[in-house]
């Protein structure tokens, strides 16, 4: 079964929805990975939300790909988040202790995850602005 990832931009966040595959496994892992990376390579600082609401099953090979994508985003000052993860796949993240790395919640709808992501980026920008202004004050 082939898989497509459809990307939309909302502010500075790139949202990718996995289409046409209720299972991500060894057969379609390359399609998935190529689809995601083709989009991310053009982003200087990728803040990415991947939506898995149509995916029922996910193998450890997909988790390996997500770790590679996460590393790619982090190296460029961005972040990867996941949403629409069903409770069975969430259990896989919990068993592998990757729920901490990805800040993932079970069955979180894409709209809520996007809001949470936007809020966290706003807070981070405010903190950076604050740090910059206080360091300027100290210099003065």
């Amino acid at each position: 079964m082939s898989v497509q990832v459809l990307f939309n931009t909302s502010g500075t966040i790139l949202t990718g929805t996995v289409l046409e595959a209720d299972m991500l496994d060894d057969r379609n892992i390359r399609d998935f990975s190529d689809g995601v990376m083709a989009c991310l390579r053009s982003c200087p600082q990728p803040h990415v939300l991947l939506n898995f609401e149509r995916v029922r099953f996910m193998s450890s090979a997909v988790i390996s790909e997500l770790l590679r994508v996460n590393e790619f985003c982090r190296e460029r000052g961005g972040e990867l988040r996941l949403c629409g993860i069903n409770r069975h796949i969430y259990e896989v993240f919990r068993i592998t202790q990757l729920d901490r790395l990805f800040s993932v919640l079970p069955e979180e709808p894409v709209e809520k995850a996007l809001q949470r992501f936007e809020r966290s980026l706003t807070l981070r920008r405010e903190a950076e602005t604050w740090d910059a202004s206080t360091s300027r004050d100290h210099d003065d």
Partner: protein, 145 residues
């Protein structure tokens, strides 16, 4: 234990995925899949065990074979995956930390199955799952009108 299913396919991804589906259907027909939790457990186990057999046991060489056998007893089903390679000890495989990209498949099988060993006599990875008690639903509890 009575053998209820056995099939050998080329050690290739497409063949292994088709085999996984066939075994899941067999498990469902024979009453081992009661709900989504069972289905996910068997899907994950078969996916990881077959991927391991194709990639590591057969090194992706489609001229080699992978075989799966199902055995049943009253309270348990046994899945044996053979790749005719040297085998490995699953007890030596531990969950990697989040910095390592690969190596989680065997740990996931261990979580979803009640027993996981490499059996030299059987010549394969042996995985057993006990029959779960039927789960109480909200309808059973009288919560549904």
């Amino acid at each position: 234990m009575a053998t209820v299913y056995r099939k050998r396919v080329p050690a290739a991804c497409e063949a292994a995925c088709a085999l996984r589906k066939e075994i899941l259907d067999a498990l469902e027909q024979r009453g081992w899949v009661q709900d989504e939790e069972d289905r996910f457990a068997f899907w994950m186990t078969l996916e990881e065990a077959l991927a391991n057999a194709v990639k590591h046991g057969c090194h992706g060489d489609a001229s080699r074979s992978v075989e799966v056998e199902l055995e049943e007893m009253d309270d348990r089903v046994r899945i044996i995956v053979r790749d005719f390679g040297p085998g490995f000890d699953p007890d030596q495989v531990t969950m990697p930390d989040c910095r390592r990209v690969d190596g989680r498949g065997v740990c996931l099988i261990r979580h979803y199955m009640d027993r996981l060993v490499y059996d030299r006599e059987q010549g394969g990875l042996v995985m057993e799952r006990l029959r779960r008690q039927p789960r109480e639903t909200s309808r059973d509890r009288g919560n549904t009108p």
